[in-house]
Subunit: 382 residues, 2 copies
């Protein structure tokens, strides 16, 4: 027997009460039980997304919310800018290129954040851009982009240009405010900071964006958000929804409200700071600078051999699963997820295991060193 | 406290062992744990779909499998025939009309089955039909269409015309054999006879259909089946899948194999025959003739007042949820689902409750009458 710890940047561990809620019994999706459930969720989920408008719940993976945002908010033949700073920006570009758009890519070195001044200059040279798309946290690099500054640049460029933000690995783990950040559409998935199994996707948008959805005639059916908005007014969904996950969502939103949103965000930042201090004490190089380090996932570099040793040892001897790099970062980084149902104590455990693994691997004594740094971060703030 | 019985034609009750499996703990979708899971599912799910080819698992509602079949198998500007015999045929037509196809509708009276001779004549008058689409069971009317005869007609018309069958409310409850029935693509969802919560959709197809998927250039991303087939070869999925539902699916497929597929189908037919005999003993008119009665759902007619009384009393006093009619059958029929994790004893319970409800409502003695007929069906076969 081995206690398992899933520390990937999604899926993430499911709290016990959420598992229980998801198993409480199936209900008809056209029953009053279900409309009561949706009615209970509606206000609570707005708080987490930082919006006063409705948040659409799709029964599908996070990727579907990227496609939904794209095909509902960009009309055929429009010019759009996709910021690509990692694997999920690249996926967003692949989605955009699937449909009849003129796609302009703003490339950012993987591991770096968008430089606002440079991006402003890039954008100013383009005409008639109707949509700009960016990750908030690029999961593949653990960078949190300066979304509020990018939003301001987009609106300064043209107040009618829509700004779509991918919050799949950040919503629920870091603060959003759609109005303050000039975000027209914020999307996310269930399996990251929202502590649910994968299978739900979310689309929050303001009234300006919603109008564009209505007028957009690009062919789509399952991802046609007009149907979801109409249904949401009646506390229901246009197609049979993933009922058990939505039951779980209600429990998750209650847990978040109980801890307090600000406390949830504080906890994520504390885990990030503890982990980063600990990794540095292990002489591991962080991929991302402090200013742009995501509160939800952390990436570090080392030799390919050492990384693969760390990952295997964590999995085989400690039951801890962490993630490797994606695409051209494969073999160059490892990523530790610290979002959702995860706590400072979990950071202590993974650092403790890594101290031992590296002490043996490098024949150098790291015992207590990473943990001490993490403790300093934790206790200094108390 | 009240024991709940969900007897709608989807979602359906979840077995306890499936709930437990879904709560056993989240696993990374890029881990060997997950590829092992997919590898375990692959052969078992083929048996249930009656195919030797791969079955794609989508993380989304059943409706998405209708759209996936359509946009992957019908190319732009092609002529397609949609058989519409109820609400889900109408949905399939709505999907078809969303995309650039020439859509021909073959209308069937709601509650009737396709008349093969008549359909053959209809089809023979059309040129260059590339795809024919039909429900197997039309959930909204409880009709099971003569799919094998329709499949033969389609292939006699043109051996290259693809036949797509919607098995959302029948796969797992009634036998399919893609080759024998000339079905090129069979789709389904998780929340009906497959005893899972909603949130998974399935697409089975033969090699001919798969080739068309590859050559079809209609824009699609999340529902582009090429990506799923490529991933399936590596026992994985292109996007983060609904892991907990897939864990549950593995348990469901084991349960089905343990009971034996033929026994599962027998059980469904027995529940149908018991229920139909009982409803007739209650002087309720069945919507569908014996020859086309689905083994998974049964519809009966009565006055709007009586139907609404039956439905409310079942819900309020017995905890039993059944479904009303959809679209123009609203207020004209009720539907009782009897698929998946449901047994002859459940039929006895609902008939027993209805005997009492109707005895009081009609001031006429029905005690024991429906149950007796159901018992005769059950025990005669033993």
């Amino acid at each position: 027997m081995q206690k398992k710890m899933l520390m990937t940047p999604g899926p993430t561990p499911i709290p016990e009460n959420v598992n229980q809620r998801m198993a409480e019994g199936m209900i008809g999706h056209r029953s009053s039980d279900f409309t009561d459930l949706m009615n209970s969720i509606k206000p609570k989920i707005k708080d987490v997304f930082g919006t006063k408008d409705d948040v659409v719940i799709l029964s599908s993976s996070g990727t579907s919310s990227l496609e939904a945002a794209m095909v509902n908010l960009a009309a055929p033949d429009e010019d759009i800018v996709v910021i690509v700073s990692g694997a999920f920006g690249a996926r967003f570009r692949a989605i955009a290129e699937t449909f009849p758009y003129n796609v302009h890519t703003y490339e950012v070195e993987w591991g770096d954040a968008v430089d606002p001044g440079h991006f402003k200059e890039f954008l100013s040279k383009l005409d008639n851009i109707k949509v700009v798309v960016s990750q908030a946290c690029e999961t593949s690099t653990a960078v949190l982009h300066p979304i509020t500054e990018i939003g301001q640049i987009v609106k300064d460029y043209d107040k009618d240009t829509l700004f779509i933000v991918d919050g799949v690995s950040s919503v629920g783990g870091t603060k959003f405010n759609l109005t303050e950040s000039n975000i027209d559409c914020l999307i996310s998935g269930s399996q990251k900071a929202l502590m649910l199994p994968p299978g739900l996707a979310f689309v929050a948008m303001n009234q300006t964006a919603k109008q564009k959805v209505q007028s957009n005639d690009i062919p789509r059916f399952y991802l046609d958000l007009n149907q979801y908005f109409d249904s949401l007014d009646k506390d229901t969904t246009p197609f049979t929804p993933a009922v058990s996950l939505i039951q779980g969502l209600d429990a998750v939103l209650d847990s978040i409200a109980e801890e307090g949103l600000e406390n949830v965000f504080e906890r994520h930042m504390k885990m990030r700071d503890m982990l980063r201090a600990g990794l540095e004490a292990l002489d591991l190089e962080l991929l991302v600078k402090d200013d742009f380090a995501s509160p939800t996932v952390t990436a570090f570099k080392s030799s390919s051999d050492e990384l693969s040793h760390i990952k295997d040892e964590l999995k085989n001897n400690f039951g801890i699963t962490i993630a490797g790099g994606q695409k051209h970062l494969k073999g160059k980084i490892l990523r530790i997820g610290h979002m959702g149902y995860m706590f400072p104590a979990d950071i202590i455990v993974v650092l403790s295991a890594m101290e031992g693994i590296l002490s043996k691997y490098r024949q150098q004594n790291y015992y207590g060193k990473a943990i001490t740094k993490a403790q300093e971060v934790f206790f200094n703030d108390l």
